[in-house]
Structures are given as C-alpha cells and as structure tokens.
Symmetry: C2
Subunit: 314 residues, 2 copies
C-alpha cells in the first residue's frame, strides 16, 4: 500500500494528513497558519510533514494552496490570503522534509479528488465549484486537471457578471464571487434585515439583534426552519450561482458540475434555485443535454486528499 | 501528397475546397446555401464534393458548420442559421459522395486551422474568437480541440455579461455577442447618429443620410479616416471585447488569443482598445503573464482549411 501526505494550506489553518491510495485519511493534524509570515508558513508545513514522516513510510508530499500556482507546480506566484509572493514552496519544503513535493492550487486539488473518488467519478469533463467565503474552482477536462498556460486557469469567481458591480478583493468590480458566495449570502441577509427588519425577525433573533451580527449559519438555520427572508436570500444567491454555471456550460460544456465548499452544505436550499436558474439560463437549452449539478462528497478534506493523490501521480 | 476536401457551411453560402496537407487550397467553389431547406443543404454540399472528386483523388471530407455539432462529430443538433435539427449530416453526405465525412463546428474548425497553420502556431492552449455578425469561437487546449461532453463547448458569445441586457438571438438577454460583435458596432454607430447627428456627419454621409443605413464597413471607413464618432464606436466594442477576453483568461488561462472574423479585419481599430481593456480587467494582472491578443492569419478560409485537416486526422 502506497502512502502519501496531503497538505491543505488555507488562510487560517494548515491541515496535513497521511492518505492511502484509496483516498482514505489514516492520520491528520491541523495547525494555525502564520499567514502574515511567508517563511513561517513553510516551517509549519514542514514540521507537520516531518512529524507524520516519523510515524509513516511516505513516498511524496502534495500541497494544495489557495493561490496562483505556477505551471511547473512548484512555486506559488501570489496567494491573496497568505504572504507568499513568488514563493518556491516545493523546493523549500523538499529541503526540509527530504521527499518529493508537488504544489497545486487548492481548488484544483479538490477537483481532482472529487473527480477520482467523489461526486465527479466517471465524468471525463467535470467542474468543481466551491462556494465558501468566495468561489473556488478546479476543472477536470479530458480526464486530467486543466491548469492553463501559466497554471492560473479555473478562477471563474473573478469573471465579471455585473458591469460596475460590487467591489471584489481582487481589485475588480462585479466578480461572480461577490454575488454567488457565502459572503454574498450574508450580505443579502444583512441588507434585508436593514431594509425590512419586520420581515427579518427570525434572522435578527438568531444574530443577537443586529443586522451586522447575521452569519452564514444563521441564514441556513432560519431557512431550514422555513423562514421566508432566509429562503429568499438563498434563492437570490442560488440564482446567481445557476446563471454562472450556465455561463460556464456555454464555455466548457462539462458533463457534470460538483458543488463544494461551506455554503454547499446547505444542500437543497442552494441547489434548487441554482438548478432552476441553470435550466432557465443555459444557451440552446432546448437542443442539448443539461449537465447534472451535484453536491461534493469529500467535504472539507477534498483538497488534502486530492493533493496526496497528485503527489502519488507526480 | 494527401488531399482532403474542406467544406464551410454558412447561412448564406457553402464553400468547398480541395486542400493539401500543408493547408494550401488547390481549388475552391462556392454556392448559395438553401438555408430554409435541410435536405437541399445536404444536396448542395454533396454536389460540390462530387464535382471536386471528379477532378482530384481525395481521401476524406471535413464539414465545418455554424451550429451545435454532437460529440460523435457526425450530426448537427441545432443550427440557428440553417434548418438542420438533429440532422445526420456525416452519414447523409457519406452516402452521396462515397468518402468518410467528419463534421465539426465552424468555430472549432477555424481554431484548429489557426492553431496548426495560422496565428496560434506553437501554442498548446489558444482560443480563437471570431468577431463577425455575432461571436464564434473554438478552443485548442493541450494541443487538441476541446469540444466538451456533448460537443457544445466554446460558445462564449452566449455568456451573459449584462444582467437584463440586450436581447440575443439565442433567446437570452445580455449575451457577450450583443456587445462585442459586428452587430454591436453597427448598433453603437446608429445609436450615436440618432442621438448626436451633428457629431456623426461623416458616418451619415457614408450611409446615405440615415442612421439605419450605417453598415460595419462604413464605421471602419470613417474610423480609418480618423472620424471621432466612428473611433468611439470601435473603442466601446473593443472594451467589451477585451473585458470578455479577460473573463475567458480567468477561466482558461490560454497562452494566446487569436481574433478572427470580419470585424477583426479592422485591425488596430479594434485590437488596441481590446488589448487595453484586457490589461486593465485581467484578474491578478500584476502577478501573472498576459496572453498576447493577435489577429488571425488565415482569413475567411480558416474554417474550410481546418475542416479539411480534421478530415485528414479523423
């Protein structure tokens, strides 16, 4: 049995796990990310890996990171939530742990995992869209991860969907992730509570009385109870999501969309309006099959599992 | 020397040509398309091919058609400007000409030609965008045509770029081709002439005096003379074009964009504002290389040449 280590490097925590060739996690550990410290982030990754290497015979290490990974899969050019700028992550970790290291964008790593062992099994062309704080993604085309010329493909969260729209963290305006993400869901709910507090009683109650206190889980809780205001927020965000999936279908015609990320855990609350909007918005919808939109199966560990498998197939 | 026949089936004419393995057209003929007659279109294609077969030793036939070609590359599911609906084009033409036939979307066929013998040579990942009446496209990813699960990929002209925007022939609103095409250029110029006739004197003069008379070539002529109104129209359409290319780069990160189609013949008039808008709109623009945006090299015959080459490599 071949073991590899997968590492998921996020803005708040670093998760490292030993994974077998069936995608099962044998042991996992988590540490806080010293996000403001580029060298410190390398050290925490390396320490975690070394600790696991002390207990397991591991052949290689795969690192999934939220950022622009270059086409050689060794350096991170830019990571908005970390302090890495043109950081030679693979080489530095290799020096510290003595095993081959590959680096992959975290959305790509998760897409690979879902396509091999999760909800995208059996699809030659599948797009993973992770709906969390923002929108992440990874594309499997013709059975392989598609990275683009410089490794920067699969960032549909930064496609402009509204001219002069909401300001995005990337510096542009109107990006899809400002309309179809967890942040968008919360923004809708807060705005609703500000404008129609009388209709947002349950949301405000859950949030401790102020619109600013409303969180994503509050909106999900209220929506599950049948609260009309919360359901409306899911409907709005789901419509933006489905419209964007229809736009991606016009470009890539995938066989399947897999939805992951925190917001997708709300299940049908998001899926139903997204599926409706997709079916209404797909160009040529009467003359073509409609790709299924399904929920991810591997949860928050998809990136770690995918990175470990990419290390095995390096 | 291996010869194949390429056929380009458009809404107004059918062009058929004998092409050698270097992409040179040896003989070409054109006939009007009986667009309202599905069977008649098959007959005109077959007659043209048979006539060429009488003079040349040809191994196979490639047909490029403006429409949704299925994944088996044999049938056209839907062609908005022809009367084909689920038409078994390859089988019917094969029966009539006695040679193997492959069918390809015309944008795909042109992209293949530009990537092998035209402006996209040497790029593993290149996107052809044809700016004509509408927007056509073809994607070469990892050195091969990308068709998607059902053969319907590469229709970025029907990505929504403006919510509740201009009505599109596909039935949706706000599609990119309503803002970044030849039709959009003419619509801008006519609107300009209606609202500010005093500033559109040259355009109106070229058009015989009425805004409705303004054509695409009129706008190009006036812009080449330095007319401010016409230049402004190119600037607006070029900005929409460049923004859309930046959005495609967020999704596909190609190594090169090739612009074809009638409007691209205006050269820098369109290219300069498109390049400026692309450089301003590309997400992560300070941390990544910018793909070059270049003009197509094979002109109106790209689809025919590409179809002939795809028949050779069937």
């Amino acid at each position: 049995m071949s073991l590899t280590i997968g590492v998921d490097v996020g803005g708040t925590k670093i998760a490292a796990g030993v994974v077998d060739d069936g995608g099962s996690i044998i042991e996992m550990m988590k540490r806080p990310t010293p996000a403001a410290n580029a060298a410190g982030t390398i050290e925490v990754i390396s320490e975690s890996v070394r600790e696991l290497l002390g207990r397991y015979d591991v052949e290689a290490v795969g690192i999934g990171a939220a950022g622009f990974v270059d086409e050689s899969r060794s350096a991170v050019a830019f990571a908005p939530n970390l302090s890495w700028r043109h950081e030679a992550v693979a080489r530095k970790v290799e020096e510290r742990v003595g095993r081959p290291v590959v680096v992959e964008n975290d959305g790509n790593a998760a897409a690979w995992a879902e396509s091999r062992m999760g909800a995208g099994r059996g699809h030659e062309h599948m797009l993973l869209i992770t709906v969390g704080t923002g929108i992440g993604a990874g594309f499997v085309l013709n059975g392989a991860l598609y990275r683009g010329r410089w490794g920067h493909a699969a960032e549909p969260g930064h496609v402009r969907v509204v001219p002069d729209g909401r300001l995005c963290g990337c510096g542009n305006r109107g990006c899809w992730e400002q309309y179809a993400s967890g942040n968008a869901l919360v923004a809708e709910a807060r705005e609703f509570a500000r404008r129609s507090p009388g209709a947002a009683v349950r949301l405000l109650q859950l949030a401790g009385g102020t619109p600013e206190g409303i969180t994503g889980p509050d909106v999900t809780t209220a929506a599950r109870e049948g609260d009309a205001a919360a359901l409306r927020c899911f409907e709005i965000v789901g419509q933006w999501l489905g419209q964007g999936l229809a736009d991606l279908a016009a470009v890539l015609d995938p066989g399947c969309f897999v939805l992951g990320g925190g917001v997708s855990e709300s299940g049908d609350l998001l899926l139903n309006p997204a599926r409706d909007a997709f079916a209404s918005a797909l160009t040529g919808r009467n003359y073509r099959p409609h790709a299924p939109i399904v929920l991810a199966e591997l949860g928050a560990d998809a990136g770690l599992i995918g990175a470990s498998d990419l290390a095995r197939k390096r």
